[in-house]
Symmetry: D2
Subunit: 338 residues, 4 copies
């Protein structure tokens, strides 16, 4: 930690700052610059009261030098985390994991049909929403518990593990019993109550990045889950909100690289929600693989034109199979097997 | 609703689009432009399947003409909503309501002391966090139920109604019993599960704008509460996330005007969280009043330098009293009484 | 300047960094933290090669402690800059300067009529575009030299100094001869060639903030003009680009406070371009005054419905007079005279 | 064009709107919705005065249906534009063009050395800045005319065409005589005076996207050049400004897809400026190729640690050769030859 004193601060003001730092258990080094004097902490600065320091008269700024996330930090866990899924697949390491399925579960025929199609094309997990976070209270909110039951039937038919989004802590038991990977959507990335609860379940958590969350905030949300005891967190970049309106969101592929440098957790990319246009999905999926993502999550619907949700961004099973065929040789170019 | 057909679409494609629109219960008017043919819906377009339409071959775009929020919409409720608070104050209409208090409840002495001070200066409600949404799992998370109990004691001493943020549906009974205005924080603005539950409580809801939420999304979140049966929603602008890092967020005062034009709900402004610097709060509070906000919510702490949370942005009781003294004549200039 | 070394860096790597810092003329203080060792510069760090330092093996980050702008920095020029205008008005200090006029000069009748009207209402300068930066090459590009000539006629009739935007260095002589305050538009804020030329003219420069420029970048653009020899720079906040589309841009009033704290230069606010809706202008103008702006620049057109440019955001002369009537008592509340 | 009338507008107001539309040369179709009546233009709406319309009493909104760019629009020019470069290379079509070289020209040895290295690795053009747009007036501003001369020497040695950024219309003759591709930097994307001049030169123009420019604004800037008579415009995505600060900018690869759908112009990607970190460049370059970019522009410096500009984001010649070796098979996967 670094404390920058104001130009012209008094010795007393400096002493007060030094005292707080020393109370936090560090030794303080003083550097006098031409404009500002700087106090550097020697030792572990975690226990210093930053806010109190920053409010002292004479203090201009308190700058953090180390990252606030510990369990998610690659510094302390240099090896990639690999998360095994039921059915033999895994996320992280040398493979490119592809999750696919419809935005919403709509019927047994639909979800079993899509499950078979995406499995045939090479997907290793089936996604499907049963509880849907919709901007409008008047929009279709998902099939709920019935949707979870249908996902289980699709799993029974195909063996594919299932991924579904949780919206409420009231559904924790339902999800822990029936869902293989529990998804936290972008809108709930900082629903800390939900994150704490998910830190106590036995299933992997797919944590989507919030629409305007920084990489540090995203990793801090992962830290909530890790700190509460669940080490199996999969991150998912799904586009951020920017001024550009051509796409639904702006897919931030450099975030994949940044997160993989800072953290050992695996990172998927969701090109469907990022772009919002089915015609963009194949290209952005290939780009994500080239950038080094550990996997993809792709919306696939048997009949996009009649989907109850997000049809515009869904691939047909045929388009998904075509994507997978292109993905294999491309992933091989960057050392990944699909 | 307007459907823009692609340049060169066939008559069959146009007929398919017209059929879906007519199935939705409207009459369709066709306008042939030099580049695009446009289909206009005559009648109530609410039941037309927009997604299905937008996926038809030959359709370029489907454009909405009317707002998706109904209960929150000023079109259908031209008069300002005024929300009465216990103790005789109200939010909305011709008065400027000022809520004040510490970021976190820390002790009986602190909260009662601050309550007395802000009451003396003219605040009409006491804010205080008992459950705190913190970016880090290692940061102080609030006093919890004990904090709510202390807020009640401060209310008993002063008569001020209390405002506090809810994080979990598990705490709904606690809040409904003890808290006068239940706050939904920016990070939970699209926690739809929480919003639905809050639509069924008997207390006013203070709904903060999400960090990157559009005005329409914000009003749609209010619509969730209204549609579930609770008509008493107070909106609060608290800064949006932009590229600028000098301030914690960017206070969007034009959003106050936009929301008040589109909706009948009252709008407060939180200059403390928006700016993140105590020295900016007075000026931005005055600006918010000049812009036409229905009130303010201001962080006040008896000892900011030792606050457990957000000390940098807290006013001292003296600074708050000075703000109130400046606010009265300024609010009078725009026709408001404090 | 602070150099953060990587966890586990070698003594040799540290020595290499220290050597570069010492070559830059400073003494180096070493602080060993629990995770990172930090090198602090003692003395003037301006001549240290930051990029070279940041690329050394073992270096994690180089952090600047002092601001890069010098002539624009309040640290070295604590007193507010006040800029006198022809006709007796001034910008900065205790007065609120109001510039008003049409987006574009369109005819003698129009510009003289508007000039008389805004003068009668209390404006101290006449704005009017002769060279217009338009997104489309097919849109009206302004009257050019004829527009400048008409501005001169309006000045001759009223005595008001005139403000107009320059787009090309080819027009420097024309502007220096005829225009009283030369405006640099948002799109040219980092047209460094133009800024350098304007640093050599004898007229005050009105420097608008770029659509996505940080406060530091804005002040660095002012620094270009100041460093080239022209001390008379007036800054103008005119809205930044964010995700919100309800308004044309998002007016960032906290930027006014930030700039006035960091710099001695006066700051105006342009509510017309920020909001893009005439109905918002009055309220946002009042808010800007309350926030502490040194002045306003407001679009006024005699016939907005037939304006050749930006009619939607223009006030009529009557609306402008009403704004001025409200502005006077409100400005008095914050210690300013209009 | 679509005109949405306000709820409750009068027949007279509607007639006024219809009259303006008819004056613009179109036939008007009226669609009465349950909330709003809509007027649709039948015929070419280009000559309708949109601003005047939008200001009429009773008019809620005027919505554009067709794109404002014509010469840049793929609708009217369905085939990809391919731009031939001296030396036999070309941009657009089935090849992936790679431009490489240092941020700044610094010496004969440096530029000739880098030119030879990037040519050996497969680059088809040499980039090098002679006039540098720097945020600070105190930073190195480039070698100017001497830099252009050294670029010419590097071209003479290698045969590679040279790309360099122009900052001032005063340098037009110099650039037209000596530079093969004239670059417009992000900060000058809406320097319309410069764009108009570049529409009259005989060299291809590399037009970088502005930091916060929408896709439509970018294409409108291209339209300025095209409309002034120069059909050879190459677009370049180089990252946009968002709230994320980990990277210098956020590379928006979906913009490449969007632009290629809307326009026939070729699109390059600059991963160096977008990311600002050399370690990210290889991966983002591969991602750009996978996304379908027509080429790359990559910063390469013989000695990044001692570069006068942007060393942090420059590859060494060895790193660039490694990138090219990975790029060839990956580009082949998406049907492109390097």
């Amino acid at each position: 930690m670094i404390v920058v004193m104001k130009n012209g601060c008094t010795q007393q003001q400096m002493n007060a700052a030094i005292r707080i730092m020393e109370e936090g258990g560090v030794k303080v080094m003083v550097s006098r610059g031409s404009e500002n004097t700087v106090l550097g902490a020697e030792g572990n600065a975690a226990n210093i009261d930053r806010e109190r320091l920053s409010l002292l008269p004479g203090v201009e700024r308190v700058m953090r030098v180390s990252e606030p996330y510990k369990l998610a930090n690659r510094k302390y866990h240099p090896d990639d985390t690999v998360i095994d899924l039921p059915g033999g697949a895994s996320v992280g390491g040398g493979r490119l994991a592809v999750f696919a399925g419809p935005c919403s579960v709509e019927s047994r025929e639909q979800i079993v049909g899509v499950a078979r199609a995406v499995q045939a094309a090479g997907a290793c997990a089936l996604r499907g929403g049963a509880f849907k976070p919709r901007t409008s209270p008047y929009a279709f909110q998902g099939m709920g518990t019935d949707g979870i039951r249908l996902l289980c039937e699709a799993r029974a038919e195909t063996g594919l593990p299932v991924v579904s989004e949780i919206l409420s802590t009231e559904d924790l038991d339902l999800f822990e019993e029936h869902v293989d990977i529990i998804q936290v959507g972008a809108r709930n990335m900082q629903n800390f109550d939900l994150l704490k609860h998910l830190g106590r379940v036995s299933k992997p958590i797919l944590l989507k990045r919030g629409l305007s969350s920084t990489i540090e905030e995203w990793l801090m949300s992962a830290e909530y889950i890790l700190a509460a005891g669940n080490p199996r967190v999969i991150l998912c970049e799904r586009g951020i909100r920017t001024f550009e309106t051509y796409t639904r969101n702006t897919l931030d592929l450099s975030a994949v690289l940044a997160v993989k440098r800072q953290s050992h957790l695996p990172v998927l990319v969701d090109p469907s929600h990022a772009c919002g246009h089915a015609w963009m999905v194949e290209r952005m999926a290939l780009a994500a693989a080239a950038a080094g993502a550990d996997g993809l999550i792709v919306e696939v619907h048997n009949d996009p034109a009649n989907a109850l949700c997000d049809g515009q961004q869904s691939l047909t099973p045929e388009q998904f199979a075509a994507l997978m065929a292109k993905l294999r040789p491309l992933a091989a170019c960057v050392g990944k097997a699909v």
